[in-house]
Symmetry: C2
Subunit: 334 residues, 2 copies
C-alpha cells in the first residue's frame, strides 16, 4: 500500500464560492447584454406568506443576489392568514405580468394552504423552481410521501449565533427540505463538475444516499448525463467497495464524515452534498459544519473534492439566477 | 474456468404464466370472500375511445380476466370523435359510481384529446393505472418528454398472423408504451422475484436500460425494496463487468439476446423484460420473440431466469386485477 504513497497527493479543491461568483458574473454580463439589446431585464418574483424569519432571510439573500446581477426583484409579502384563493389570484397576476420571468413561492406555506395546488398555478414558463420535470415528479409524489422534513429545533436555535460567511449554507442545512430549492442545489452539483472540466459521460458515478430530495434526483441527473449510476444506501452491503469503484462520488447520506479516504478511488471526483453540524467547542457557536466525506482523508486520495461549507452550497442561488435568466431569454429573445 | 463447469448447471425457470395463474386464483378467492362477507365485488371500468383494433383486443382480454376472478367489468366505448368535455364527464360519472373501484382509460386517445388532462380527472382512489407515485411522476414528465413511442408499422403488420399463446405479449411488444400499463408490468417483475423466494434487500441489482418507461421506474422500485441499484446503458463502459457483479439482473435494453451467459454472475436471478421479434423462417409467422438475455447461455449460469415469452408478460394483467382488488378492499372493508 505504501507504493501508492497517497499522503503526498493533494486533491484539487473545487471552490464552490469562486465558481458561483464566476456564474454570477456571466449572468450579469448576459443581463447587461439583454438590457442594451432589447431594453429589458429578467424579473424574478418571490412570494412570501407570513413572517417566518428563515424565509425572510433567505428571500432577502435572493433579492440581494438578483440586484447584484441586474435581475429585477418583484417581492410580495402576504399576511400569514391570506386565503388560498387570494394567494392564487396573486400568482395569476404574476403569471400575466410580462416583466416577471420567474415566480417563486417560498415554502413552507401556512397549514391552511395547499402547497401543491398553489405551486401548480404558477405558469409553466415562469416556474423557475420547477424547471426540471423531475421536480414535478417529486411534487406529484409529495401528496403521498412525506417529502418535506421539518427543521430540528436544535439547529434552529443554533441559527441565533451564526457565522455570516456560511450563513446561507447553515440556512440550507437547517431547512433541509423546507424552504430552499433542491433542484438548484442539484444543478449546482453538475455545474461544479463541468466547470472543473470533469466529464460525466460513460463514467461510473456512485451516489451515497437515496433521499427523494437529493439522492434520487441527482442520480437521475447523472444518468441523463450518461453516467453509469449506482445508488448506495444504508441497506447496501459493502458500500465502501462500491464507492471505491466510482470515478464520481456524490455524497448525500446526511452522515458526518461517513465516507473515509479509504473509500475513494484514487483520482476520483468527490462532490460532498452533506451538510452536518458537529460539536466543536473551539468555535464560538459551539459547532462547525462538516460534510458526509472525511475531507482531510479524502483530499489525500481524490482527484477533485468540494469542501463543506464552500462547495455545493454557494451554487444554489447562482443556479436560481441562471434559471431566471434562461426563462427571460426565451421570452425576450424571440 | 473449467473448474466451475457451468454446463452442468441449469437455472430455475421462473414461470410467469404459472405465477400469474396463482396470483389470479388468490384474487378470485379474495373476491369470493368479499362477495360473501360484504355482498360486494370489485368493479373495474375501462374506457375506450374509437375503434383501434389493438385497444379493443387488449381490453377484451382485460374483460375476460376480470370475469375469471369475479371482478365486475364496466366498459365504455366512446366514438372516435367524442369531445374532451364529454369524455371527462364520463370519467366523473365513473368517479361517482360506488360500484366502480378502478378506472382505466385506454391509451392512446385521439389527437384532439389531451391525455394528461383526462387522466388527471380520474379520482385518485380509483386510479388503478396510476396507483404508484412513480407513475404520476412519469405522467408529469409526459408533457415535456416523448413518453409514448409509436408502434412500428412492421410489428403491427406482423400481428395479423399471431400465435395465440403469446398473443398478449406480442401486443405488449408492439404497443411498447402506447396502450399497456407499464406500472403493472414493473410490479410484475418484483412479484416474480418475491414469488420465487428471492429477497431484494441489500442485494446488488443491475438494471440494463434506462428508459423512462421501464429502466428508470424499475430501478426506483428496486431501490425502494432496499437493493443497491446500478443502471447500465449504451454509454456505460464495461457493462458486462458491472452486470457480472449483480445478484439480480433486470434486462430492459430492448436489444435481442444482448446479455450473454458470460455476463451473468453464477447463481444470479435474471428477469428479462425485453421482448424482441427476430426473424425465424421455421415459424409460420416468420419470426419469434426473444428477450434481451441469451436465454440458453444464461440458463447455464444463472440461479433463476424468466423466459421470453412466458416470464414478465403474463404478470401484467394479473397486477391490474390485484390493484383493482386492493382499491375495492380499501373502500368495501372499512
Amino acid at each position: 500500500m505504501a507504493s501508492s504513497s497517497p499522503s503526498d497527493h493533494k486533491a484539487t479543491i473545487i471552490d464552490g464560492k469562486a465558481i458561483a461568483q464566476t456564474v454570477r458574473s456571466e449572468i450579469a454580463d448576459e443581463v447587461r447584454h439583454l438590457s442594451q439589446q432589447y431594453g429589458k431585464v429578467p424579473g424574478l418574483a418571490v412570494v412570501i406568506v407570513g413572517n417566518r424569519k428563515d424565509s425572510q432571510s433567505y428571500v432577502s439573500m435572493k433579492r440581494k443576489a438578483c440586484a447584484e446581477v441586474g435581475i429585477k426583484s418583484f417581492d410580495l409579502n402576504l399576511p400569514e392568514d391570506v386565503s388560498q384563493a387570494e394567494l392564487i389570484a396573486k400568482v395569476h397576476e404574476l403569471n400575466a405580468n410580462p416583466d416577471v420571468h420567474g415566480i417563486l413561492v417560498q415554502l413552507p406555506l401556512p397549514k391552511h394552504i395547499n402547497e401543491e395546488k398553489v405551486l401548480s398555478e404558477i405558469s409553466i414558463e415562469k416556474d423557475v423552481d420547477g424547471f426540471h420535470p423531475l421536480n414535478i415528479g417529486k411534487l406529484a409524489m409529495k401528496g403521498r410521501h412525506p417529502l418535506f422534513l421539518p427543521c430540528t429545533p436544535k439547529s434552529k436555535k443554533r441559527l441565533l449565533n451564526i457565522d455570516s460567511a456560511v450563513k446561507l449554507e447553515i440556512y440550507m442545512f437547517c431547512w433541509k427540505s423546507s424552504c430552499f430549492n433542491h433542484d438548484h442545489f442539484l444543478q449546482g452539483c453538475l455545474e461544479l463538475l463541468s466547470r472543473s472540466g470533469i466529464s460525466i459521460r460513460g463514467k461510473k458515478a456512485v451516489v451515497v444516499g437515496r433521499s427523494n430530495i437529493v439522492g434520487l434526483p441527482v442520480s437521475l441527473l447523472l444518468l441523463k448525463e450518461d453516467a453509469t449510476v449506482t445508488i448506495v444506501h444504508s441497506h447496501s452491503s459493502e458500500p465502501e467497495k462500491t464507492v471505491r469503484e466510482a470515478d464520481i462520488v456524490i455524497a448525500a447520506a446526511g452522515q458526518p464524515m461517513m465516507i473515509k479516504g479509504s473509500w475513494i478511488k484514487p483520482g476520483a471526483a468527490v462532490i460532498d452534498v452533506g451538510t452536518n453540524a458537529v460539536d466543536d467547542q473551539t468555535r464560538k457557536s459551539g459547532y462547525r459544519l462538516v460534510g458526509d466525506v472525511d475531507f482531510h482523508e479524502a483530499c489525500k486520495v481524490a482527484g477533485w473534492i468540494t469542501p463543506v461549507p464552500g462547495g455545493v452550497g454557494p451554487m444554489t442561488v447562482a443556479m436560481l439566477l441562471k434559471n431566471t435568466l434562461e426563462g427571460a431569454k426565451s421570452t425576450i429573445v424571440q
